[in-house]
Symmetry: D2
Subunit: 402 residues, 4 copies
Amino acid sequence: MRKSHNITLLGAGLIGTFYTMTIHGQRSRDKIHTVCAITEDEAKAFGQKWGIPKWTSDMAKAVEDPETDLVIVGLPNNLHKKAILLAAKAGKNVLCTKPLARTAAEALEILEAVEKAGVFTGYLEDLVYTPKTLKSLASVKNGALGKILWVRSRETHPGPHSAWFWDKEIAGGGAIVDMGCHCIEIIRNFIGKDVKPVEVICTAETMVHPIQAEDTGIGLIRFENGAIGQFEVSWTFRGGMDLRDEVAGTEGTIWLDHFLRTGFEMFTAVGQGGYVAEKAESDKGWLFPVGDEVHELGYVHMFADMFDALDEGRKPMETFFDGYVVNAIIDACYRSAITKKWEPVKLERWREAVKAGKTEAGQKIIGEKYVLIKEERMPDGKTKLILKDKKTGQIIQKVKDG
Amino acid sequence: MRKSHNITLLGAGLIGTFYTMTIHGQRSRDKIHTVCAITEDEAKAFGQKWGIPKWTSDMAKAVEDPETDLVIVGLPNNLHKKAILLAAKAGKNVLCTKPLARTAAEALEILEAVEKAGVFTGYLEDLVYTPKTLKSLASVKNGALGKILWVRSRETHPGPHSAWFWDKEIAGGGAIVDMGCHCIEIIRNFIGKDVKPVEVICTAETMVHPIQAEDTGIGLIRFENGAIGQFEVSWTFRGGMDLRDEVAGTEGTIWLDHFLRTGFEMFTAVGQGGYVAEKAESDKGWLFPVGDEVHELGYVHMFADMFDALDEGRKPMETFFDGYVVNAIIDACYRSAITKKWEPVKLERWREAVKAGKTEAGQKIIGEKYVLIKEERMPDGKTKLILKDKKTGQIIQKVKDG
Amino acid sequence: MRKSHNITLLGAGLIGTFYTMTIHGQRSRDKIHTVCAITEDEAKAFGQKWGIPKWTSDMAKAVEDPETDLVIVGLPNNLHKKAILLAAKAGKNVLCTKPLARTAAEALEILEAVEKAGVFTGYLEDLVYTPKTLKSLASVKNGALGKILWVRSRETHPGPHSAWFWDKEIAGGGAIVDMGCHCIEIIRNFIGKDVKPVEVICTAETMVHPIQAEDTGIGLIRFENGAIGQFEVSWTFRGGMDLRDEVAGTEGTIWLDHFLRTGFEMFTAVGQGGYVAEKAESDKGWLFPVGDEVHELGYVHMFADMFDALDEGRKPMETFFDGYVVNAIIDACYRSAITKKWEPVKLERWREAVKAGKTEAGQKIIGEKYVLIKEERMPDGKTKLILKDKKTGQIIQKVKDG
Amino acid sequence: MRKSHNITLLGAGLIGTFYTMTIHGQRSRDKIHTVCAITEDEAKAFGQKWGIPKWTSDMAKAVEDPETDLVIVGLPNNLHKKAILLAAKAGKNVLCTKPLARTAAEALEILEAVEKAGVFTGYLEDLVYTPKTLKSLASVKNGALGKILWVRSRETHPGPHSAWFWDKEIAGGGAIVDMGCHCIEIIRNFIGKDVKPVEVICTAETMVHPIQAEDTGIGLIRFENGAIGQFEVSWTFRGGMDLRDEVAGTEGTIWLDHFLRTGFEMFTAVGQGGYVAEKAESDKGWLFPVGDEVHELGYVHMFADMFDALDEGRKPMETFFDGYVVNAIIDACYRSAITKKWEPVKLERWREAVKAGKTEAGQKIIGEKYVLIKEERMPDGKTKLILKDKKTGQIIQKVKDG
């Protein structure tokens, strides 16, 4: 008999809407049963809109609702700890939206509380669950790209939709904590979650908006095995939401576009009379809508993994521990933005990782004397070999026909 | 209380696999309960693979299973009528894969049988349910493209995966009946299902494969309101599966790519060690996988609409009547391929359609004397008007600054 | 010593501008020496803008200018014959813009006049000279696509920039004669210029504009060797200029986009303060400019071939004979649009062509009994063969591991 | 009377081939008159292949050839200084390939020598001359993107074709000096050449190849006005040559793809029997050729600007001073890769630049009390404003209909 879940949802903003659309989506068997918003009115409006039987503005009451078996935290960052601690205390399973916390210290407190309570937890990092990302991860695991060398992840758009994101105190930072957390976890998945992040260099800029936090951040993360992660986030992008990942390995390449160029192109001289896509900036001219947003952004596969994991008694793909590692990397990024140098990633806890060695591609020996550096076909049809003399180190080239 | 369904599935081939993957997919509450295949062994293997409790090779027994409330027909084209008539006789709701039948005459027999039995029916035309198509149809309904003038739909790949498709007698034709049925129904949705198809011109070619049926077909459909539908299908395409639609209206344009260029690009020098995508032709070099095939191809939204419609007591978006119209258009195509001229579409039944007039864009009058033909910005920054004298018909041009 | 040319240009419209931009372009050694426009003022303005020493409104005088060795005809279609006959009479080399004439009869008169005069001639069909097309043609000649089966060529935009195009009498038709001529010659190049066009089916629609000629045309051309050409032209397209070609062969595929998606994407919220690209419809939002239009549209390589051919005493890639064949195909299209059936292409003259047989792909024999229809890798990693029994014609399938 | 040039070419490798193809290209009036290679045999073979009348292995003799008026340096990096000093001594105009030198110190010596000699000089940075880049720069100058905030430039491929590139001593570094020089100058052009580069952070990695220099480099450049440049270079990329630029401004965005996705796509099951494009890695499956490489890579427009500038007595777009600035930035990058922190760009010489202030977008005041942070259209059709209280700094949101 297949299990289903009755859920308490904390938060009735955009993320709560996306979560509810997904969980109440196509023929699903799980349901939001209780919703909690800041005011009773908001809770009621949300509840009525989505067919949710119970609503309240009392967080504790919502968490403790005996008719629900799972709490989903869809609140501003500064309330995650409070909500999760309430759930832990109530012995409730809990899923939390990204980022897990504002700092690694806060994340660690959360992690310890849920471990002590022994409840099931899941980290709602939707972007590692997009169908394209899942299939890419499978290919990488199959070895299609050889050893992963360099992963770039970008999220840029004109800025978030709710006031609290722009408030450094509530959010714990700006664009880096808001979107960098996505990019960092995407990078970790491609490079391998067992590979320890070692150090980061990061710049945090306030380029356009009249705010205290950064509206743009660029960072590099060096991993134990020599791989490099690169994230680019900005609230200053013009043209919609740019959501792209690139993976470079010794044997291959993956390029993913999740939002702006997905095979859906529309030109309209009159406007399309409605919503185009999240962060779209205009409704005339060439537009690039997305098929089914909650699906393309990974929400559908994310909740399926979370609920299946709970039913099957296993861990989901994304855990609170992952959320903690992401926060630790972000902490290092903010330190680096101030010190202007590479900063170590401080991880008080780290799983017993496979001690992955430095990435090293095999060397191809040519004849007795040479190591192959490169082989390329030239415009005249010939093949050129670049060779290094094993003894002297001298570099030479040879041309072969055909 | 949300309803769920126990289903009898007839057919355990590729389409049965796609249907089962979808219906048993993410957190769904519906289930295949009984599967029927040609041999007992095949039925058992399929049942065990997908966790289906009952299997049989006896079609009547499967249809009449008192524990199921719905029959899905996923059989070769020549068996659709037999299966649906069995379901109608058993008073069972029935969904049938595309095409509904091999000819309009056969489709009409089916239509009349289910109408007489009074059962719920749905036509499983997945490609009008792709998330991109659904969103596009909404935009078209909102007027984003003005009046629709011209719709092109293409499906080409290197050929189907099962022997029976290649057998003209079983399939009722070749590439046109196999894939043209998709294209035609996509076209009908964009132009408007109330707009009557009037006549077709079509060529059916056997270009590459040693078969009797056509492996390539190109057809034009003229609709009552002057709009033109254009389909292109082929089993000779090299490079994967090309699945694209284009919609041209007086105010806008839509381009959809469902499969080969969807923002997912991979290069691998070593192969990706597994399945790439339906009809992919190689596993090295540049590959273009698809995120989640059953979703991108419309299966998820199609079954959601079917089951929701059944639960809500309404008609689904795609009905057996639509299947009948598609068969009538295909019949005309095959006639035209022989007579080499435009052939009328013969529809014994047609809904009381809105009598849509010939598409006519409004005329813009300039001054007292002229009708505007066109306005264009030139490289030198000036604007040129092409005008027709209302009385004499003479065409002139005027240049304005800015 | 490298030769250079002094040119008489007839026509000072947009095409004359493109020709002059090209010929006076990067470090070129050829020059427009005399320009002829309808009025003396226009001729003078054009001459002064482009540094052309002589201008006139007298066509005969311009043609007979003893200081020029070559005449370029960039006039409305109804004046081509007059201009070319003047050039022939003057013994001048002559290049003519597309289409060569309004009808095949007119084209034949032209052809015979220049042959009698013995002058060098070239047909200025720029779109077969785009760098992408030239490289594609080379690949096709190298066999990269196997036998060519199907070539589709499209040109659609919101309509031409000069009044005379819209006048059926002057132009000789509408969108088909204006743009179909490009598509047809692109098709001929890919299928092979020695392969005779046999028959056409075509529809000519006046969908949007208040004109007598067609603003939209779709046609199929069947060639002697079984290959199919397909052209789509329209003056009703919204979104810029859509200029795409597709070539399908037994071994491969080519897709060319010459204008709207060429790796150049711009979003601007404020407008870009100038000209975007030919036929672009807006200057805000997402725009798709083109790098160097005269180069991308083939003008640079076209004139290089023409002048080099003249210098080297050889024929250029595109000749007046090609222009004549194109006109003959267009004539058949217009007949077909009226008779609503396939119409033969009437060619009074045809080169002694290689008598190409019907395209027939080799058959692969499996075992003693079967002909291979198709081989496909399935999602489960197995390979499926579709086979036809050579004797009985029965079609079966076999599954192999791996 | 138009001027033309007789040129001495130093170097007969791939870059010499590209330069010669360009200069001898379509109807050009300039010519390579003398070529110098390492051996007499190579010089002769190159001369005969390209119709160059004189060849030698004696660099001084080639430079001093009284029949040439211009020297082009297409030699390995370690020979640039020697060659340019010879040209300066001979009073010859001189163009030098990128990078100008191996270090800023070397570049400064070169700069002072040519200034003292008073000869015309040009820096052959082709990638700022691609047609797409030139048009983009014009749009940026027109204000289409507002203030430029962030420019990213990438060049990655599987590694260069000649042995000397891989030798740190000869080349002056690895991927950064080889390709970073392109990216840096592209960045400078978009941000503005008058805007001083202030500091850099850079990582230089040897990830794959058995060499001493870096095969991968990522760097950030901060400019005086707050804009950020970002370059990514690698010799480890799989899949061809990735050549992309992205420009982000307060009002818009530009994305350029110069090589791998330019609207030219080919699938071939049999191989295309020839050269695909520079750095292409395979000749089967999906290939992405380029139309006309020397044009797309900027060579045509680059030499046109150089020769026109010389004829017109003006400076070309790219000068030796630009080459010097690029070397100074690269020097800072290599220092940063060692110190692992931001390093200042040391410029002994800097033009009297416009003292550009910190980029600051205008603030929009709402009512009396608020500064607008952001405005976004929501899925429900309403518009949300994010506002900051001018006095308290508190951030709030307001929702408007429509």
